[in-house]
């Protein structure tokens, strides 16, 4: 391989590494969770409100108004379905379908409001953990 090609490849890799955002595990987890939630919401809106047969092999644009009823329930009101794109004319569809959708379950948590719990627990050393387990 020519030297220039090797250098170009190295430069490209360096560019990619610099451009990749440095995310913490917690941030990645939240982003993954949000992506999953949005995809799930979209699936609910589309599958329950759009005639998939009618739009087969087409790209369909959907605009819906959602209201979160509880942590895992939404009221969905589809405002527009189109193959041309969503027009922003502010009109309201009075005959819109309203459904209730279950999105996700949430575990109960204990909430605090004090100095003692303001920082998260320290990360335990994995070596120390193993040591404790072997005792």
């Amino acid at each position: 391989m020519p030297k220039a090609a090797v250098l170009a490849a190295m430069f490209l890799w360096a560019c990619i590494l610099v451009s990749v955002p440095d995310l913490r595990a917690g941030q990645k987890e939240l982003i993954e969770k949000k992506v999953k939630e949005l995809i799930e919401l979209n699936k609910i809106v589309v599958e329950k409100n759009v005639d998939l047969k009618k739009y087969d092999k087409q790209t369909v644009f959907i605009k819906a108004r959602l209201q979160q009823v509880s942590d895992n329930e939404y009221n969905v009101k589809v405002e527009e379905v189109s193959v041309d794109g969503i027009k922003d004319d502010g009109r309201k569809d009075e005959n819109a379908i309203v459904i209730k959708a279950k999105v996700s379950e949430k575990a109960d948590r204990t909430f605090h409001l004090d100095l003692e719990n303001v920082l998260p627990p320290e990360k335990k050393e994995s070596g120390g953990k193993e040591k404790e387990n072997t005792k």
Binding site: D22, L23, R24, A25, G26, Q27, E29, L30, I31, E32, K34, V35, L38, I39, L41, N42, K43, V45, V46, E47, V50, L52, K53, Y55, D56, K57, Q58, T59, V60, F61, I62, K63, A64, R65, L66, Q67, Q68, V69, S70, D71, N75, I86, K106, R109, T110, F111, H112, L113, D114, L115, N117, V118, L119, P120, P121, E122, K123, K124
Partner: protein, 275 residues
């Protein structure tokens, strides 16, 4: 979320970094943290009384790859407020974190609030209480900022319950199966009357996620503004938000003694000023 976290991390740094960089004494760090916590608690009171403006978009551009872009912005306008009092401030010298709780009796602002819009005379004894934490230490600031980011996320989620939000998608249907391409959720609105219930952490250390719970007393707020908020049968509307810690900047190089190397423009040495 990342932008919000960055903004508040920046604010927390602004509160504390100057003192840190100048190797502030423990007393100066304590004062700095306490004063910051008080200011933040006051801001929280303003957010509850006058409301907070929220603008958010969450977008997945390529669903198969899961590329995500989320933005939440909050703003509190310039507001006049008076009569805020503080409960005794707590300070943890080991962690360098201050906790301030501000209180405001609604009757104290009766003369500066638009009485046509807000019937606060109905609640003469109502006291608003908001708590805030602050630090002068950069290593803790990311964690405090994650709590604030979670609080902003909770504001947004609370609004989604009260005002709803818009979902727009661009979806390809192939053989009657969804091949979604992009989906975007958005909100622009203002929310007032939110109370802070508390926070919790999931996970450990720098990867831990903060969760904040906020609530609105729907019954009380409805009576105050004279209209029904939403078709909601319970007294409180609650919502949770989550925030992650921002990756902090690379630590400063340490010198051979293990102490932080501080860059100064001062040339160190003996100066003989005697004749």
């Amino acid at each position: 979320m990342r932008i919000a976290a960055a903004i508040f991390l920046g604010f927390a740094f602004a509160c504390g970094l100057a003192a840190q960089d100048q190797q502030a004494s423990p007393a100066a760090k304590k004062l700095n943290s306490i004063n910051c916590a008080k200011v933040l608690a006051e801001r929280n009171i303003v957010e509850t009384v006058y409301g907070v403006k929220i603008r958010f978009t969450e977008e997945v551009n390529n669903i198969l790859e899961g590329s995500f872009q989320g933005n939440v912005e909050t703003k509190t306008g310039k507001r006049t407020i008076k009569g805020i009092e503080f409960e005794p401030v707590k300070y943890d010298p080991a962690k360098d974190i201050a906790q301030a709780t501000a209180t405001l009796k609604l009757s104290n602002i009766a003369d500066i609030v638009d009485k046509d819009k807000f019937n606060i005379a109905k609640f003469p004894d109502k006291v608003i209480r908001r708590t805030a934490f602050a630090t002068s230490s950069p290593d803790k600031a990311a964690k405090i900022a994650a709590i604030r980011a979670a609080e902003i996320d909770a504001y947004k989620n609370l609004y989604k319950k009260i005002g709803g939000f818009t979902l727009e998608s661009n979806t390809k249907v192939e053989n009657f199966v969804l091949k979604s391409e992009s989906v975007k959720a958005s909100v622009i609105g203002a929310l007032m009357g939110a109370e802070f219930v508390g926070f919790s952490w999931e996970g450990e250390g720098d990867d831990a996620i903060a969760t904040v719970k906020l609530r609105i007393n729907a019954k009380e707020l409805s009576e105050m503004i004279g209209e029904k908020l939403i078709d909601f049968d319970k007294e409180f509307i609650e919502a949770e938000g989550q925030g992650a810690q921002k990756v902090s900047a690379a630590p400063k190089r340490k010198n051979e003694d293990g102490k932080q190397a501080v860059k100064t423009d001062v040339i160190e040495g003996n100066i003989n000023i005697t004749p």
